[in-house]
Structures are given as C-alpha cells and as structure tokens.
Amino acid sequence: MLSLNNNLRMKSSGIFKIIHVISWIIFIGFSIKAGALLISYLVSVFVNESASSHLYLGLDLMNIYNLSLFHYSGVVLLYILTAVLKAYLFYLLIKVFQKIDFNNPFSLTIANMITKISYVSLAIGLIAMVALGYTTWLSKQVFFVSSWNASGFLFMAGVIFIVAFLFKRAVEIQTENELTI
C-alpha cells in the first residue's frame, strides 16, 4: 500500500506541478480580463465613449454602444460574468490541488469541490449559450465580432461530472475500507 502511494505521489507530482502552474496562469489571466473589461466599461460610459472600441484585446463594441447603452451594458456584463466565472473555476482547481493529500487522495471535500467545478463549468456554458443567442440577434442589427466557447464548457462540465461521480465512489470505498480495518 505504501509503495503504491509513493508511486502515485511520484507519478502525479510532475503532472500536479504543471496543472498548478497553468491553473495559476489562467486564473490570473481571467481575473485581469474581468477587471480590465469592468474598468474599460466604466470609462466608456462615464469618461470617454471611444473606449468602447478597445474594450479588451481588440474587442470592439462601439457599434452596439451607438445602437443602445442598454444592449451595450448587457453584452459587456455577459463578458464580465463569464470571465469572473472562468477565473472562479480555475481558483477552485487551484484549491483542489492545494487541499489534495497524495497519501489519501479521496476525501469528500475534494469530491465536493470537483462537483462544484462541474457546476461552474455548466453555468459558464449556459451563460455563453445565452450570450451567443443574444449577440447573434444583435449582430443582425449592427456589425460586430464576438466569440463564446459555449460547447467547450458544456462538454467540460459533462466530463468533470463523471470524474466527480467516480471520486465520490472512491471516497465511499475508502471509507468502507477504513471502517473494515
């Protein structure tokens, strides 16, 4: 049992370090995106409307701004909401890897956190789907380019849900095993 644990620890530590670093990078990236979008939005509404043409990394919503402030606010809000949720998703992933114990990887806390990740991913997918419909409808009135990766997050939610289910089963087996001993 001890050798298997050591084996798991050694094999996983490399993968774990990579995931941890990437998760931090993505978390910081999405946090910056959410903050930058919020500040650009506030500047475009209260200071200078031309900021709406360079919201974040070439995101140009000037045409929607000129069409209606309500629709402009709606689209920006959807962008900020998805960015915040994506940052939260990766924050949860960082938390999972901070709390996981390689000697005893199956705990209910970790299983619940993985389930939470799948729900957050599902929420991002659903919001992106709504946003996609909304922006498709808007693009019939004004020209603008937007991108929402709805299917990717919905698929990710499904896969992580399977993982969470398996993790919960493993927790049950581990608990049963400990009780038997």
Partner: protein, 169 residues
C-alpha cells in the same frame, strides 16, 4: 447511477452530433479543391476565415490538417462515450476505465496542441503571418488532459482499495 445514465445520454447525443459534423466535413471539404468560390470556415467559435480563394495545394494542406486534428478529437469523444458505457454498467474502477482515462488525457493534450497548430497554419497560409498564440481553448484542453492523467493514477489506487475491500468481505 441515474446521473451516470443521464450523462451517458448527453454524451451519446454529443457524440452523434460530432459524428454528423465529421461526415459532413469529410463530404464538403474536398469540394473546396475544385472550387474558387467563397467558403468561410468558423474556427472554434471565433471569427470566420475565407479559404475558398486559396490554391489547391494550400487548401489540401489545410483540409488534411483539419481532418486529422478533428479526427483525433472525434476519437477522444468516442473513447469517453465507451468509458461511460462501461461505467453505466457499474464497472467504475476496471482496468479498462483507468487505462481509458489516461488515454483520454493524452488525446486531450494532442488536441490542445493540434488546435493551436490549425490556427497557426491558417494564419500562415491565409493571411501570411507567422504567429503562434495560445488561447483559452488550448489551456482548457491542456488542463483537462493533465487532470485526466492525474485521475487515472488516483483511480488506480481506488481500484486497489476496492479489491482489498472485496477480499475482506
């Protein structure tokens, strides 16, 4: 058990959608070789790219690259479908499921690199710009791949625990 079956249905639907898209792609993409008309390709929910005006060789390179990478992606989905099929029968920690998790992880990483490669090829061939950028889709696929590989290791331990448990009883 109910959730797994529900999930199985969802993944089955997604699998058949991807399969239909693949078949349609296989049928329509080669037509591009014989046409000079406008043909817009949507690259993963981002802006569309017109590849209808490209020469035969350039179009062929892009078509082959797209078919190979999407083929790998389709195979990954197929593997997930097969794994969930086995799981829905109650075999949660079988060698097959654990090995598949590791394989799915590796394939996700290949897809992450492959999709970035497609974007790179499109930029190079269509707009003649040499740039290699990584986007969210790349990171998500990479994270999922590595996570799957890690879980495959963890579930190996769960399998051992289960065997131990069965023997004790």
């Amino acid at each position: 058990m109910k959730t797994v079956k529900l999930l199985k249905t969802c993944i089955d639907i997604y699998y058949y959608f991807v399969m239909i898209a693949m078949v349609l792609g296989l049928l329509t993409l080669p037509i591009l070789l014989f046409t000079t008309g406008s043909y817009e390709v949507n690259l993963f929910d981002s802006q569309t790219v017109d590849i209808g005006h490209l020469g035969t060789l350039k179009t062929l390179v892009l078509i082959v690259l797209m078919l190979v990478i999407f083929g790998v992606y389709f195979y990954t989905i197929r593997l997930i479908k097969k794994t969930v099929d086995v799981m829905s029968k109650g075999n949660y920690f079988s060698d097959y499921v654990i090995a598949n998790f590791s394989r799915i992880g590796k394939l996700f990483i290949i897809c992450a690199i492959g999709f970035s490669l497609i974007r790179f090829a499109f930029r190079l061939i269509v707009s003649s710009t040499f740039s290699f950028g990584i986007n969210t889709a790349f990171f998500i696929l990479l994270i999922m791949g590595l996570f799957m590989m890690f879980l495959s290791e963890a579930f190996n331990q769960a399998k051992r625990l289960k065997n131990e448990n069965d023997l004790t009883i």
